[in-house]
Subunit: 396 residues, 2 copies
């Protein structure tokens, strides 16, 4: 039988990143491809203790739960967001199945086919997938290392009348960059003037390498009317719990909760109970400090080996997060190169899929959080060799 799918699935395709991950999952490949935290850093004992406490707390934790999320966890998230300067009530907060679902539910309640979203270019691949699945028109805005360029942003805001601007302003995926405070203010002012929503995706904000610096979320500059802010426990605790949240204007959050009911009834409530106990009993901030130091060291190792390459590489040194975003010489096609790299035992993600349009084929994203220092050194040595060889082949 031939099955007639919905029009919206035309835009639906499997993530290139996840497909690569699947292929290399079983092999001995050193992978810089995924956006994975390090398994060895998982606070397994604390998570197990939190589940034990949940099981001891009574059987209600195992029953159907409230769509908006387990109230004590919402209260804790409200408190934790305050340390980032974000003011919120529990009613402005929805627990989601990872922050991915926050992007999805927001899109579901906000966008009609043909609506416009402005994004950076490149930007988070799985957000693009969501937008496209709702037949949203995604328009890229020009950026430099400080964020979206004001002129282009103003021009496209006027020309395309977007419903929303989607940004990952702190340790962006894939570009690794941090927006300046000035650019954050500019975006917010403009959004307010034009009555446009900002969707601020902040999965990596806590993974910051320099304790002194302050990267104020755009949501902290807002009066609660124009910014949706989403984050997750996936990078700071463990991904498998699939627990994130979104904070925003009550009317939108309420509508998203209704969409959440239709989508999954509610997110895994056992995980929510466990995260509540974990936040109470475990020094999560101490653990995050450990993650920061560990990942900072790994970033430095990757950086050193990148510097040893005898071809020109262009990149911003990450101030946090999980990725190097690298431009190879223009004549190198990163997708073509991937085959060679995998044959030599190393994987990465070509940058092209992260682009809304005009992909730069010479870009790659490298993750430094998932590999041990030894693997990082070994893999980077091979990768730098592959770069150099290709460069000489291209030039010979």
């Amino acid at each position: 039988m031939k099955y007639g799918f919905a029009k919206r699935v035309k835009h639906l395709q499997s993530s290139a990143v996840r497909d690569i991950l699947k292929v290399i999952d079983n092999g001995n490949v050193i992978s810089f491809a995924g956006g994975l935290p390090d398994d060895d850093m998982f606070p397994v004992e604390a998570v197990q203790a939190a589940f034990d406490k949940t099981f001891q707390s009574g059987k209600k934790a195992l029953q159907y739960g409230v769509t908006e999320g387990f109230m004590p966890l919402r209260e804790i998230i409200v408190e934790r967001m305050k340390t980032k300067g974000i003011q919120s009530t529990v009613d402005e907060l929805l627990i989601t199945t990872g922050s991915q679902q926050a992007i999805d539910l927001f899109s579901r309640v906000m966008f009609n086919p043909g609506d416009v979203v402005l994004t950076e270019n490149p930007t988070y691949l799985a957000a693009l997938q969501v937008f496209e699945s709702y037949e949203v028109k995604v328009i890229p805005v020009l950026s430099d290392e400080h964020g979206m360029l004001p002129d282009d942003l103003a021009y496209k805001m006027k020309k395309y009348k977007p419903k929303c601007v989607y940004v990952v302003p702190t340790f962006a995926n894939p570009s690794g960059k941090v927006w300046s405070l000035e650019r954050r203010h500019y975006l917010l002012e403009l959004a307010k003037r034009k009555k446009v929503l900002i969707f601020e995706d902040d999965p990596y904000g806590r993974i910051q390498f320099n304790d002194e610096e302050i990267y104020t979320p755009i949501a902290a500059l807002d009066d609660g009317t124009h910014v949706l802010y989403t984050s997750t426990f996936s990078k700071t605790v463990v991904p498998a719990l699939r627990t994130g949240w979104i904070k925003g204007p009550f009317q939108i959050i309420r509508m998203m909760a209704q969409a959440q009911q239709a989508a999954v009834l509610h997110s895994n409530s056992l995980a929510q109970h466990a995260l509540y106990h974990l936040c109470c009993d475990f020094d999560l901030d101490g653990h995050i400090q450990l993650l920061r130091k560990t990942y900072f060291n790994r970033m430095k190792i990757m950086h050193e080996l990148l510097q040893s390459a005898n071809i020109p590489l262009s990149y911003v040194v990450p101030k946090g997060g999980m990725f190097f975003w690298i431009k190879l010489p223009e004549e190198i096609n990163a997708a073509d190169l991937l085959g060679h790299a995998v044959m030599r035992g190393v994987a990465y993600v070509p940058g092209a899929p992260f682009y809304v349009s005009d992909p730069e084929q010479n870009t790659i994203r490298l993750n430094y959080t998932h590999s041990t220092p030894d693997k990082l050194k070994e893999g980077m040595r091979v990768l730098v060799e592959v770069f150099s060889e290709t460069n000489s082949t291209v030039h010979s």
Copy 2:
């Protein structure tokens, strides 16, 4: 700021059932409203042991997982479906965040606005919510206690050219009925002839009161081309794990997996690992036997007290599942009556929201699985009184 929502949210509304549950959540009300299994029947020790084993099994269980689901769990589900006569490969199976998400993802990949789905009337409320959120046109088919009426089904199949027929043929929610084998065959034959998909929702199939009887899933009669079959661990293990599955033609399952990526990346993988260990180490079928007996006894208690009412009540005695579906005398409005009942300390769900169209205002759904025998007796005594008093008021 006034927020411009998507057109599809016009149809989005909170479930009446869940709103009632929220109100009565904290009170001392005896509730027959929800579709909840009994907390006291939860195999907490087995679930905890399964999580312990997961934590001992290595840190990979806490990492990001595969969108299609944890392979060993998929293998177990394939085996368990065989005992119901359903043949499947692991590639025809997707793990979902409860069976609710199976309905949602299926709808997402299949339906364009204006597409038609045939359903029974009344039918599962949260399925209607999903269909409406995708702007699907839901057409009710006339039924009796054996399932959809062949003539009306054939007529509407021809007239409306539906993309899908959605059914809960075994211990339906809310009607509690079981389709005859003949009607199951008839629907499948017709669907094949007309190239229409059947979506078989079977959350309650294992909660069967008479061990001797066999209720063959429609999916077991199919050659794997026309039936999507979804079920869940929510009723047999615990709801909080939010783990269900869907089985269907590979092309559709693959497309749904891509939609799943966009929606949540993947379902909670810790829960999937734990369910795998639970199925290996725990006598789940023995536990299900205990659930059957327990819930059968509770159904009998409710039935006895229904028989004591001095007004005419019309209902089918359930052969399994979790609900009595009751017609009160026509002049009684079940929604109006709810206020009286709640003031007297008992809650139920009025039947009207379960209808696609032409709601019968004198219907109610009563759940018998969530209350202890004592509470059942106490609550039913009150409820029967409320019925009787209202009847005499109406007639006075």
